[in-house]
């Protein structure tokens, strides 16, 4: 029962999902909209609660057992608790019961997002520029035909999209466009087709109950 009921449910839900694509009748579309906009969105919100519960449990456990770098878990918990309280009670547009402005200093959730989350996320991605350059150097040292092709294409594309590319040769931007439109499209299309076939096969395996890893361990 503990596995059979979920397997029956996933089969029925999967079938309903497939049918929604082939029945354009308005009454079915109303049901489909309810499924997508109400049921599934609410389920995704509850899934977030579960995910956050797991995150908090991991960090509380880390603090309790005094694992390596446990002090930083306090920072995460305080930052999470503070921003969640500000967001939940202060409202998204500073329209909640909690005041989020002291004189001219405002600390509503949108301000926190714009001044902490966005700069930190962009810094993390900016860091990757250095690591990608280092990866490119290592690939260049391999000196295989494939690595040379990859780096040559990358170099031409990088130079070609800059104004520098046009000053080197007026044909370079057009050549870059050709690389993007012809060999790049061929490779990407081949990969997309392969991925799509894999997605369809895996989806069918999940719906038909052949792939059961999502059930997790235990009974």
């Amino acid at each position: 029962m503990k596995k059979r009921i979920p397997l029956i449910l996933i089969f029925v839900a999967g079938l309903l999902g497939v049918i929604s694509f082939v029945i354009p009748h308005p009454s079915y579309q109303v049901y489909d909209e309810w499924m997508r906009n109400d049921l599934l969105r609410v389920l995704s919100a509850f899934a977030v609660v579960l995910a956050l519960g797991s995150l908090l449990r991991v960090h509380f456990d880390k603090i309790r057992r005094k694992r390596r770098n446990w002090q930083y878990s306090w920072l995460l918990l305080v930052a999470f608790g503070g921003s969640a309280i500000i967001g939940l009670f202060g409202g998204v547009a500073a329209d909640g019961i909690l005041p989020t402005t002291v004189r001219s200093f405002s600390f509503d959730i949108q301000t926190l997002y714009e001044n902490i989350v966005i700069p930190l996320a962009s810094s993390m991605f900016a860091l990757l520029a250095f690591f990608m350059a280092s990866a490119a150097y290592r690939a260049f040292r391999v000196r295989s035909t494939e690595a040379t092709l990859l780096l040559t294409a990358a170099f031409i594309v990088m130079i070609g999209v800059l104004p520098l590319g046009y000053s080197i040769s007026k044909h370079l931007p057009a050549f870059v466009q050709w690389i993007l439109n012809v060999p790049n499209v061929a490779a990407q299309r081949g990969i997309v087709l392969g991925i799509a076939l894999g997605v369809v096969a895996t989806s069918l395996k999940i719906i038909l109950g052949i792939e059961r890893a999502w059930l997790g361990g235990g009974e």
């Binding site: 049921l39 389920l43 001044n115 012809v182 081949g190």
Partner: protein, 213 residues
Amino acid sequence: MNISTDPWVWIASILSLAILSFLYKENPFFRAAEHIFLGVANGYLVTFYWHRILMPILFRPLFQQGDLLLIIPFIIGMLYLTRFIPRISWLVRIPIAIYMGYWTGVLIPATIQAKIIKQVQGTILTAPNFQSWNAGTMGIVWSVTVFIGVLCTLSYFYFSREHKGVIGVTSRVGIVFVMIGFGAAFGYTVMARISLLIGKLQYLLGDWLGIIR
């Protein structure tokens, strides 16, 4: 020099420097900024889901307007929380089954239509495809190149037979296309990251320290 007096600019700049300090090596400043980032990002996530989904779609219509149909998503959603009760934790599989099943079902025809049929339509050698290049007779050459490239790329990822003979030749051609494609994607990604870095430096040197305009 015109240093910013906005406390938020100072906070964003100091935290950004803490993240960039990882270039030297992993250090306590980086780890602190990383944990603060995770905490605030998750706090924002909670706020977003509460104010944008749970309140307007579930709690307000259910408890204030009496839309009793919403009791179904409420009960199914609550089953997620049984994960924390070992005796009945298997019930968490019910919302997962409904959510995953429905989206998986929706994904099958959508993928077949958008990622298989449309891609094949764009690859096969037809007069409209030749004309779509706006390159005259060269359009035929580019279409044939893409056609051969797609077939060769697919043959490179076909592992059910040993890459010998015809498949050996086509897979060798396929890897050439794949490497050029990866190179183009790599070049574009590096440029995107560099532009982020430039934006970050402009923020630190301009908005924060006021050294540049």
